[in-house]
Symmetry: D2
Subunit: 227 residues, 4 copies
């Protein structure tokens, strides 16, 4: 809320990434509730130790359980109690919060897909290597038709996503926003990520869900990707 020469921020936020170890926080707050929905919010830079900022706790997730925050980073629950910030704390113009977020999120989406493709590919390689190594019921896993079907499906799905990513990136380079292409890519790539990792986990059996293999951590991250 605008007040005097600055703003007063009030609110309650879950899942602020790295919020509990940050020096400053980026806060998106409604500055004009009556404006068009795309112009209602603004972004602010807030010192993490400003008066009224309460880091309530780190929220545990599947991927980052409560005991692992030191290792992996965290998602903070934060309350803002009448936090006063000066006019200069504004990021961009007042009311530009939504726009700034979209500008960052759109390219961000394709970057997610690129990383997911890398993880999918690594899970696929692990699937193939283990299938050639491991025997069950008298033959290698790689000789079982179920595993062969999984490999064929994974090859096709990863290839489709890879080409969609390159195509969308090409459009962006050419000055297009590629909104439809990136939207189609995003949910496809998140599904491929999950499916390929899931097959790799199943191929590895108990090893696949153990902390001895990176697949278990990949599987948790893949669930997050589909949200």
């Amino acid at each position: 809320m605008p007040m005097g020469d600055g703003y007063v921020l009030d609110g309650h936020k879950w899942f602020t990434s790295n919020g509990s170890i940050a020096d400053f926080l980026i806060v998106m707050a409604v500055t004009d509730p009556d404006a068009h929905r795309y112009q209602r919010a603004s972004m602010f830079l807030v010192d993490a130790d400003a008066d009224g900022v309460e880091i309530v706790r780190d929220v545990a997730t599947m991927e980052h359980p409560a005991d692992s925050f030191a290792k992996y980073g965290n998602h903070a629950e934060i309350r803002y109690h009448d936090v006063r910030v000066p006019r200069e704390a504004l990021l961009g113009a007042e009311g530009a919060g939504f726009l700034i977020a979209q500008q960052r999120l759109y390219p961000g989406r394709i970057h997610h897909c690129m990383r997911w493709l890398g993880v999918s590919r690594r899970a696929f390689d692990m699937l193939c290597e283990y299938a050639l190594l491991r025997e069950a019921h008298g033959s290698k896993l790689a000789d079982k038709q179920t595993i062969q079907n999984w490999i064929a499906d994974s090859v096709a799905e990863i290839q489709g996503c890879r080409l969609m990513t390159l195509h969308a990136a090409g459009l962006i380079d050419a000055g297009d926003e590629a909104r439809v292409e990136i939207s189609a890519l995003k949910f496809s790539a998140a599904k491929v990520l999950h499916d390929v990792i899931d097959r790799a986990v199943q191929t590895h059996g108990a090893l696949g869900i153990s902390g001895d293999s990176p697949l278990s951590q990949m599987y948790l991250a893949a669930r997050f990707a589909r949200i």
Copy 2:
């Protein structure tokens, strides 16, 4: 079987496309049972009215039911009883049957995918048009989330296949056989073809399975594509 200056062909073949209306038949027959499996068979040109060629019947299929042969063409069951052909009836070298078939089938596979993409795209367009036209339970089909999910899935799947087709075609143009790429593409494209048509049929309801819409014939052809 080689005999004297020519060959004697014996056998029984189902699903010879257009066999009952053809002037000549292309027969693939084992000429050397002891050769490597890729060099066992040869191809022959055989006159459809040669002695010993018996066109048993046209085999009805889902796509081309018995009563529609005149309209759509057919798949013949043919018996070959001691059919004598001269040496010149050989297509290519003796033992080259498998090789010739592969040379034709590999590019043939990508042509199938290209046509399937066109059909998938037409079914998708029909889905979208009908969803904008038709109301049910007080709103347009296009406003139902189920239909919107189908549209999003179809866009992503068609796009993935389209790019895989262009990519494989580019490899072929560059002199590569693109075997892995075409294999991955073929079963993906056949699945997309079925899934998109199936959603379009469901969107159209009873109209979609009636002869009043091309979708019903597309659906049958799509089942054939997945064999």
Copy 3:
């Protein structure tokens, strides 16, 4: 529309089962457009040769293509032009059309599921028999893991549907309408029907989509079931 001592029926209907060979037609028509939506319509018995009844044509469907009407029955398109029927033509009370339809459709739904289970079971038996008979690439189809997976999935799905059918039928016998149970059963059974037949078709290859096997006709009927 009520008129004098009777009613005048006007309308256009597609997919009247066996309409073109029937002696009388059952017509559902709005008799009070301002009533509650469940009391708007009434049912009438109408002579097929009454003045104003025009049997436009038989509508071809996937399952019953245009050339097969004599064999399989048909779905007629019918126009009603100012067809006058006496008060006695009413089936039940005025405004009871929806109720009568529901009374017939609810038990009808479970009968559909019972027949579908029988068809699913037959397709499953054909799958198993053919898998034991047919060899490909040096071993029986029954020895391929893909086929074994299909058999296991089919067993579980048919068993689940069979028990859901018995359970719902038991509730009905005990006086319950079992609406939730029958709704859940209906879409599950239609999906199982399609999936089991689809696997049986795939196992049979080209034979499965030919008129030489009942599977092709089952496949078409299964698409109809999912509408």
Copy 4:
């Protein structure tokens, strides 16, 4: 290996449930490598502090990450170095190891399914409650068709599994081993467990993958169930 009046056990085992906090261990070891595969192994009771028993470590899993052993139990990696046990350490007859394991595992499988059904049901209840509570884009989640589809699918799948469990349990009570029924039930129930929880997680969004909801722990356990 039999030796003198007793046996000497040698080996390396991963995933011994609760192995690191147990007072005794049950060891399955080959006692006659030349016997029929079902009579090769025997079971032994071994003191956890016997000479030669080395508890190497607890193996972390998705469900029980390294830092949570105190809370959740664990899966130990254990080495057996020339562990000598007397004849009385045998559980049952020599060579009966496989038989004993099967006798325990068969009923064990249906107990798993019973617990999974309970968990599936709880996840389903959470899905429904949250869908009624939470609004997005101007309406309740419960009003979105995607969520309604998930609810319908979940109802049907849970119902099918519940009836299959009751049916198999009835067969067991009647003296049957119900092997086919339990096998079909096991993989079906594990899939339903995963699918229902996955839908509940998705409905809850970020809350669903956070430690604030039991769904995240359910999701991990469900992956374990499908191994």
